[in-house]
């Protein structure tokens, strides 16, 4: 993968948050030298998975330009988005769209849902006149499996969660994006509606060539839609590569624990082992070595002293001292 052809590339992106003041001031490294890339030659779904507080949403916000990293670069077709000129930035904001977890809070409750579609069209001058605008909207709605007459003219509360989420994908489609950052788009939906949204993501990738940065804590939905997977733990990527490989044969102890802890919808395959939860909060002093040290069943002396460096194993990478 040559860098200039990558759709999106993060290079050692670091974000530090500070809280408290003076003596009680705390620094939290939310994102710690994270690097990954989405290729530019074919559309893929790239999943960034981790538990709450792992920094995955911070990464999404950096990619969307809401937050500046303290270190590192975010490249879009090889160019740093934080040194974009105004016109380039406008283009970036058009080609990179986002769908978030809560499909209700995005809407303004006093307007009908049409508002969110028409403002987008106006802001980006997509249509010549109202007639064309309506035509574009109809097309976008059909593409996401909605009928214009069942959603237009309605208020957000009159639609189901699934419909509201589909409508946001329709809004994205109006802009013909190259990348959609989807941050937990199905975690608030019921199982029966979830399947529809996941299928929609697959359709949009195949039919319109849109790539996705899918951010989730849920590896079962990731498995269903993704091509690549990066597992993030306390701000650092611990393992990354083709998703099938990782799920079948996880290398990093954290990935193993994560995969083994997913409840399986099969009463004949219940958990055989137990996990011990920490008896008290681990106080993160300055961690020098591996961040998973305190929870790792395979920890060694070196893990405490030295940060694991990148190891390439077949088609993936892992950061762990177990691998030479």
């Amino acid at each position: 993968m040559s860098t200039s052809t990558n759709l999106l590339e993060l290079r050692e992106v670091t974000k530090i948050f500070s809280s408290g003041f003076l003596i009680s001031r705390k620094r939290i490294i939310a994102v710690d030298e994270v690097s990954f890339a989405l290729p530019g030659d074919k559309p893929i779904v790239f999943t960034l998975a981790g538990e709450s507080g792992s920094g995955k949403t911070t990464i999404a916000r950096i990619v969307l330009g809401f937050l500046h990293p303290d270190k590192g670069e975010v490249l879009y077709f090889g160019r740093n988005i934080f040194s974009f000129k105004k016109s380039e930035l406008k283009n970036y904001y058009r080609e990179v769209q986002a769908v978030f977890q809560d499909p209700y809070s995005v809407y303004n409750p006093i307007y009908t849902v049409d508002h969110v579609l028409y403002t987008t069209i106006k802001k980006y001058n997509i249509a010549q006149d109202d007639y064309e605008a309506r035509e574009l909207i109809d097309k976008a709605l059909t593409s996401v499996g909605l009928r214009a007459d069942e959603v237009l003219g309605k208020y957000p509360y009159q639609l189901s969660g699934g419909q509201r989420q589909r409508l946001l994908f329709a809004r994205c489609l109006l802009l013909r994006p190259k990348l959609i950052v989807a941050d937990e788009p199905v975690s608030m939906l019921d199982a029966s509606l979830r399947a529809g949204i996941l299928n929609l993501i697959l359709d949009l990738k195949d039919k319109y060539g849109i790539s996705f940065l899918y951010i989730t804590h849920d590896l079962s939905t990731a498995n269903y839609i993704s091509d690549y997977l990066a597992i993030i733990y306390r701000g650092s990527i611990v393992e990354m590569g083709p998703i099938d490989k990782i799920l079948q044969d996880p290398l990093h102890p954290y990935t193993k624990l994560l995969i083994d802890s997913i409840p399986k919808p099969d009463p004949n395959k219940r958990w055989r082992t137990k996990v011990a939860l920490p008896p008290r909060e681990f106080v993160a002093e300055e961690i020098i070595g591996c961040k998973f040290y305190d929870r790792c069943p395979y920890r060694m002396d070196i893990c405490y002293r030295k940060k694991p460096s990148i190891k390439q194993i077949d088609s993936r990478i892992v950061y762990c001292h177990l691998y030479k």
Partner: protein, 319 residues
């Protein structure tokens, strides 16, 4: 196994401007002593309303229309407020959804648990109580020091364990847990779920577990009840329900769960749950059911015995 809690023909409505919303509409359900019964169903199907009604915690605009809730033979819906207060916590403890965020932020954990104990047992000696509370915390895998901490010093998973310790404080016979792991990450979720299972096994505490997550039901429940639009559609042994779901809704619900290691195209359920202010006639699932027949549009199927442990409310199985 005999019955500990028996819910009979329970109806709970909410008053709205457009007429009553029938959130729980004629539910029959029994919880057997020492079992883990799962209550499954999608959001707004009435799960939470149902368990709140069991403890008579329904507040206006909600109201209990009719039915019985028998606990050890006593009808809780007819019991006095005084009697109910004795039963709540001591006999039945309830862990409401997101209760881990409801701990008092300016009170140490130990004092909050002492409050619960004193509300039911009267004044207790601080030192003895503290010792007892530390033991409780150890039972849920926390260190003794947690007793002297404030909620903000604990992670979400730890606070949820404090809530479970509180629920255990008075040795209840039944614990009702409503979505106890929903906002937690998978590893913590697994720890909490396994802990609930251990409590059930070690102390014989009966557990009514409410969650929308079918995979969690598959992991720990003995029996499962499937709820849809205010009705129970199917009840059975968990492994039987998963291996051979009878009701079309149960079948679709199970097939819409993504599984690791399978990329088989998922089928959702088309359409939406009905408006419970004006539910469809006949079976409430009929507008979305792929096997709908004429009779389903007219006559409501009742929950009938299919075999020894299985009940289903569907015309496909009425003979």
């Amino acid at each position: 196994m005999d019955t500990l809690l028996d819910i009979k023909d329970l109806q709970v409505f909410y008053k709205t401007e457009l007429g009553p919303l029938r959130a729980v509409d004629g539910v029959n359900l029994n919880v057997k002593r020492k079992e883990i019964l799962g209550l499954a169903g999608e959001s707004a199907c009435g799960k939470t309303t149902l368990v709140q009604a069991v403890l008579k915690l329904i507040k206006p605009p909600g109201y209990i229309v009719g039915g019985e809730v028998l606990f050890n033979g006593i009808n809780l819906l007819k019991a006095s407020e005084n009697k109910l207060r004795q039963i709540r916590w001591k006999e039945i403890s309830y862990i409401p959804q997101s209760s881990m965020n409801a701990l008092n932020p300016v009170m140490k954990i130990a004092n909050q648990i002492i409050d619960v104990i004193e509300a039911h047992e009267g004044k207790v000696r601080k030192r003895e109580a503290l010792h007892y509370i530390e033991e409780l915390l150890v039972k849920v895998g926390l260190s003794r020091e947690v007793a002297k901490m404030y909620p903000h010093e604990l992670s979400g998973g730890m606070r949820q364990r404090v809530v479970i310790a509180m629920a255990l404080a008075l040795n209840p016979k039944l614990i009702i847990a409503d979505e106890p792991t929903t906002a937690l990450d998978v590893v913590t979720q697994r720890g909490i779920i396994q802990m609930l299972k251990d409590i059930n096994k070690d102390f014989g505490t009966t557990l009514l577990l409410v969650t929308h997550d079918m995979a969690i039901h598959a992991e720990i429940t003995d029996r499962i009840a499937i709820m849809y639009a205010g009705k129970i559609l199917e009840i059975g042994l968990t492994n039987k329900v998963f291996s051979e779901p009878l009701h079309p809704y149960t079948r679709l619900l199970i097939s819409s769960i993504p599984r690791l290691g399978s990329k088989q195209r998922l089928v959702g359920i088309s359409g939406f749950p009905p408006d419970l202010r004006d539910p469809p006639p006949g079976c409430r699932f009929h507008p979305r059911c792929p096997f709908v027949m004429d009779i389903c549009r007219k006559i409501e199927p009742s929950l009938l015995k299919f075999d020894l442990e299985r009940f289903v409310a569907c015309h496909l199985y009425s003979r």
